[in-house]
Symmetry: none
Subunit: 205 residues, 4 copies
């Protein structure tokens, strides 16, 4: 490794680090104020620079949202794919997927909130077509999983599959709105209790 190469790497890494910092800030502001209500200036203020200066790093406000969302989705699918590749039973897969989901929320909370609130709207633009792709793959994954669980005798057969899908999907992801890293309950704690409710319900047995 030549010093020159080290310098270049150092610079590139520094730049990437700055990008990541700015994106984290932007995601936080987008999540807390809403994408549309967030001005570029607010993001810049939160980052301690002037509005125009963000354009040195990003092409547009949309580009920031794009990078925030695609980073989150890539990470999410990497985790899901690991689980799905493990060849577990439907019940165990569901467990792992839910656990993985709360870990993703832990790592990408503001991005998840942004996704939750704005993906429907953003997906109308060509640039965000992948949001729809992801959503469709997500839906297929869950419907397959639920169907398999019924076949394997693990899940009840008297419930509407679409409804069950939406039930779990909504419940898990909307939790990003209140989840706080380092709070009383860890992501894994929440996953465990949510799973208990999904599977067994809240009724005393």
């Amino acid at each position: 490794m030549s010093p020159r190469r080290r310098d270049t790497e150092g610079t590139a890494a520094a730049r990437a680090g700055r990008r990541a910092e700015l994106l984290a800030t932007a995601a936080e502001v987008f999540a807390s104020q809403g994408y549309s209500a967030t001005t570029v200036r607010k993001v810049a203020d939160a980052a301690g620079i002037l509005g125009g200066s963000l354009y040195y790093h990003f092409d547009s406000k949309e580009a920031m949202a794009d990078e925030i969302l695609s980073t989150f989705l890539d990470d999410m699918w990497a985790g899901y794919d690991r689980v799905l590749a493990a060849g577990l039973s439907a019940r165990d897969t569901l467990e792992q997927i839910v656990v993985e989901s709360f870990r993703v929320i832990d790592r990408h909370r503001p991005a998840v909130v942004l996704y939750q609130n704005e993906s429907k709207h953003l997906a109308t633009s060509e640039r965000f077509r992948y949001l729809n792709d992801s959503r469709r793959r997500f839906e297929e994954m869950w419907l397959d999983l639920l169907r398999r669980g019924v076949e394997e005798g693990a899940f009840r057969s008297d419930l509407d599959p679409d409804l069950v899908y939406r039930y779990i999907r909504d419940t898990v992801w909307v939790a990003a709105n209140w989840y706080k890293r380092g709070g009383r309950l860890s992501a894994d704690d929440i996953a465990k209790q949510y799973l208990a409710m999904f599977l067994e319900g809240i009724q005393a047995s």
Copy 2:
């Protein structure tokens, strides 16, 4: 009833009707595009009038959101209060509250979506203080209900009450995002299945 009185009533009713029409349109647009991303002109377009004409009926965009939200919340609490006054067991109360919630979603779908997405943001302004009041009352009602259910031996005691509260709250209300009146499943159908999942879980027994 004299003709004159009928005329007056007709006029007043017509005016109220127009307001309600415009509010319904506005709620629809706010819900589908987001409050902040919705321009007053978009609302007016959807209503078939010009942007400025809305101001004959309403003081501001905020005033429209205000009326939409307070109408919905008033109706919701009227329903809840009827249930709570009936003196049912915790389990039956939960059932009725969930059923009532889906009926409110049926009647006020766009308002519920608006509430879901924007109340946090809107509540920072004095005018929408009642949003916070309602949220607090809502939270108390649920925590009381869940505590009582545990005492009555109806609900499991091994779950975190705050978490259960959020679980049910989120799951019910977020359904407003996809619920469609006149779809395959009625509001009561959805309530019934959601209750089954809340209480018994999706696991085969």
Copy 3:
């Protein structure tokens, strides 16, 4: 005089009375808020009717200003012409003109304020050309009067005539801004004291 003619006259008189009432109201509002800052609705509110209803009586906001100003100017010139026709000395003429001016202020206070504040701006439009005509005639009248007074040995000759003209003009008319009918000093009282100051100054002799 036939009954029919009396009816017609009665109606016409009533209509003219309503016009005059509305114009008085409009003048009051124009004077107190400024022509441009006064909305048609404010005038209508002050008159106890709705904004659109004013258009039954007047063609436009400008038409109201027009009628207010021309009525005032006509009355003012009628008074001035009476004075000028009397063939008095310059000194006595000045006295009478000043007295007459304060009487016009008494009768048309809001119109005078409107004239003071807006004539410059309004006079750019064709419709208000008469404002410039009046101003020019007014200026000529005063310069003649002052010149004659110097010739007659009544007025000092060491002062700039233009300056003296502006001095008196401004001082008299700007009083409309604070003059109140029925106040401690009548219009004639003020005229007398102003004349004392114009002629003799405030210095003890």
Copy 4:
């Protein structure tokens, strides 16, 4: 003085200079068209920039008026205070105050016109409370001065003090409407002749 400090000063001075330029332009337009009838775009046009660009420099149209008026009033009172501190006789003080007033008109002509025409209206808003404060202090100063002049035997005692105050106040300030820098008569020339008229009147002696 280090180069760095010089740079910083240069930049700050340049910014202040731009502000002052824009304010001078705005004052000119406000004075000639009236505050309310002046659109922000007209101001921007006169400054050779676009409407929105003004908001980089100022928070609002009101903020411009605020800065214009407070700058003028601060300068005026600084001048008055110098005169008042000199301990002159009432007569000499009056002379100096009038001279100073015309110098202020010379330096702040459009601001004075703006003040004249709009202060009554603007002063209703909290932000412009200082307009009322200044007006009150101004009134007290004059009434004190006139009373002292009578006591010192310099001014006539047969005139109404309030009336004399208004007479002088109006006459001096309304001159801002026609005063032109570099015209036939300098500010000091006008002051001298106005003083002659105030003190001795226009009557030949």
